[in-house]
């Protein structure tokens, strides 16, 4: 009897296929456990909040309630807001963020690579960039609204400025930390300066640039929302500002939730893009991706 029970695990372990099967099962169970824990936390928070609000432990007027938030969002979706449909507000904010992100990333990369490549330029312009970076740039939003009015351009500019510095510093650092051997080798093989930048410097700096894009993405949304806060006719920032002015806690939370959803989906897209762009890296290759799934 004891021999038989001893034999079963021994036999199972000696077989490659069942070993792999066991490992897969263990991994799946682990993932399920993690997911379960995450759901439990969400449930505790939402249910606790709702119960506290219903029992009057917290004042739903100031703190809102999950159910109230759902009702508010449903109302917005059906009847729209004071300045047009809710979907339009989302689209406006999204448009501002995306445009700001693109402008900021492109200019950040261009300046970062230029200053990284041309030492003289870096030494001359460097201090000014540091000074501007030290300013609380959010305040620039007020200036931009004054200059460009309540429409789209002021928000795009604010988002772009926020994004620019993150991307710029990473691109600059990335260009500066390119392996000198790679550059020497390309030059000896006959590459012109432009070819060196295109085939060696830029792809090498790409690792750094991509690392900055996650932060930059968050900043582009912050820039758009804050810009709308400071003065606008449309957008989620305005929705929040209005809700705040009317002491509509559910409205503030509701809009926050939507922004969070936007940010998460953008983050997800970014992760996909990153995986594609960095497919050449060890651990990111197609083989390991297959192992991972």
């Amino acid at each position: 009897m004891s021999v038989a029970t001893m034999d079963i695990p021994h036999e199972a372990a000696s077989d490659e296929a069942s070993l792999a099967q066991q490992a897969r099962q263990r991994a799946r169970r682990h993932r399920q456990l993690v997911l379960l824990g995450q759901l439990a936390i969400l449930l505790v928070i939402v249910a606790g909040w709702q119960i506290a609000a219903v029992t009057g432990f917290i004042d739903p007027f100031f703190f809102g309630s999950p159910w109230g938030i759902c009702v508010r969002l449903w109302d917005w979706a059906l009847n729209g807001t004071a300045y047009g449909s809710f979907w339009l507000q989302i689209w406006v904010t999204l448009e501002e963020s995306i445009l700001g992100f693109v402008v900021g990333v492109v200019s950040g990369i261009v300046f970062g690579v230029l200053l990284g490549e041309i030492r003289y330029l870096a030494e001359v312009i460097g201090p000014y960039i540091k000074i501007v970076n030290a300013l609380p740039r959010i305040v620039l939003g007020s200036i931009f609204v004054m200059w460009l009015g309540l429409g789209l351009p002021s928000k795009v500019l604010l988002a772009a400025v926020l994004v620019f510095f993150v991307v710029f510093f990473n691109a600059f650092q990335g260009v500066r930390s390119v392996d000198r051997n790679l550059i020497s080798n390309a030059r000896i093989l006959g590459a012109s300066r432009l070819q060196v930048v295109r085939h060696v410097v830029f792809p090498s700096a790409m690792t750094w640039i991509i690392a900055s894009l996650h932060v930059a993405l968050g900043f582009s949304i912050i820039g758009a929302i804050v810009g709308e806060f400071l003065g606008s006719q449309r957008g989620l920032g305005l929705v929040i500002a209005t809700a705040q002015n009317t002491f509509d806690a559910n409205g503030v939370f509701g809009a926050m939730l939507v922004i969070g959803g936007l940010a998460l989906s953008a983050e997800w897209l970014m992760a996909k893009l990153e995986k594609r762009l960095l497919a050449w890296q060890p651990g990111n290759s197609r083989d390991s991706a297959i192992q991972g799934t």
Partner: protein, 280 residues
């Protein structure tokens, strides 16, 4: 100036000194009054203790650095700017990690404006030559160290250089792989016979491969002695030639010259370490 070094692929360093000055003003003399000639088609190994400026001779020949004094000529032309028609193999891989093997090998022709398709076709030929067909779409990190060296070799030779500069190219490999790569290098070199400047700290490797071994003194380096290696070619496997009596005799002679320099360099670095320890 010897007339022979003026031919295609000849390298001549005459009375060359290279001093590096750091931004703080501290100067370091890497090599001093070096006279060195590599004739066209000659395989020249350069040995010396660590930090003696062996690699500096290569960067000067490649045109990556300018001499502080003296002249460097390649194929009879004074070097100003990147030297044309040379290839360089570094100690660490200089492969672009974000490009697949095929694109890496095709870089040379691509930089020179060869159409993509033709460059790829030539790269395929070279990959076949170094025994890596089937790996053209792998990324460098997916290959073993020896395979990466083969890719580097193909990438260096695809431009059909008249001078091949090699800076301890195989020193990161294990002993067996290294022997295989040495044989491979000799076979490939024999096809077109470019001149080779091969920096190494391994005397066996130097004698096994080269026509001529140059011993550099402890830094600042200068040429201590030049030995002609009269072992017949083709040499066959480098693992076997080590037992040849002539090989052993040459080894003994060159080692006698090299040994003092190695001892000197070692005692210097030991004193420096001690001084640093005393300061700490």
């Amino acid at each position: 100036m010897s007339a022979r070094s003026e031919g295609l692929g000849g390298v001549e360093l005459s009375n060359v000194t290279k001093r590096f000055v750091s931004p703080t003003g501290a100067a370091m003399t890497a090599i001093r009054n070096v006279d060195l000639t590599v004739e066209p088609g000659q395989f020249c190994a350069i040995v010396g203790p660590t930090g003696c400026g062996k690699s500096t001779t290569l960067t000067l020949a490649a045109g990556l650095e300018r001499p502080t004094a003296g002249t460097v000529r390649v194929s009879g032309q004074p070097v100003d700017g990147i030297t044309r028609n040379v290839s360089f193999m570094f100690q660490t891989d200089a492969l672009l990690p974000w490009k697949p093997v095929l694109d890496n090998v095709a870089l040379g022709p691509m930089f020179k404006g060869t159409p993509r398709r033709e460059a790829h076709a030539r790269a395929m030929d070279w990959l076949r030559t170094v025994g890596l067909s089937g790996f053209e779409h792998h990324y460098p990190h997916q290959l073993s160290g020896g395979m990466r060296k083969r890719v580097s070799l193909a990438a260096a030779l695809i431009n059909e250089p008249s001078v091949l500069l090699m800076d301890e190219p195989f020193s990161a490999l294990d002993v067996q792989t290294r022997a295989i790569m040495s044989n491979e290098l000799l076979t490939l070199w024999d096809r077109r016979r470019p001149s080779v400047m091969f920096v190494t700290h391994d005397l066996e490797e130097a004698i096994g491969l080269a026509d001529k071994v140059v011993v550099i003194t402890a830094g600042p380096g200068t040429v201590k002695a030049v030995f002609d290696i009269d072992l017949p070619r083709p040499r066959g496997a480098v693992q076997d030639i080590r037992f040849d009596p002539r090989f052993l005799e040459l080894y003994r002679q060159i080692w006698a010259a090299l040994r003092e320099e190695v001892d000197e360099a070692y005692s210097r670095s030991a004193t420096a370490a001690k001084a640093q320890g005393a300061r700490a």
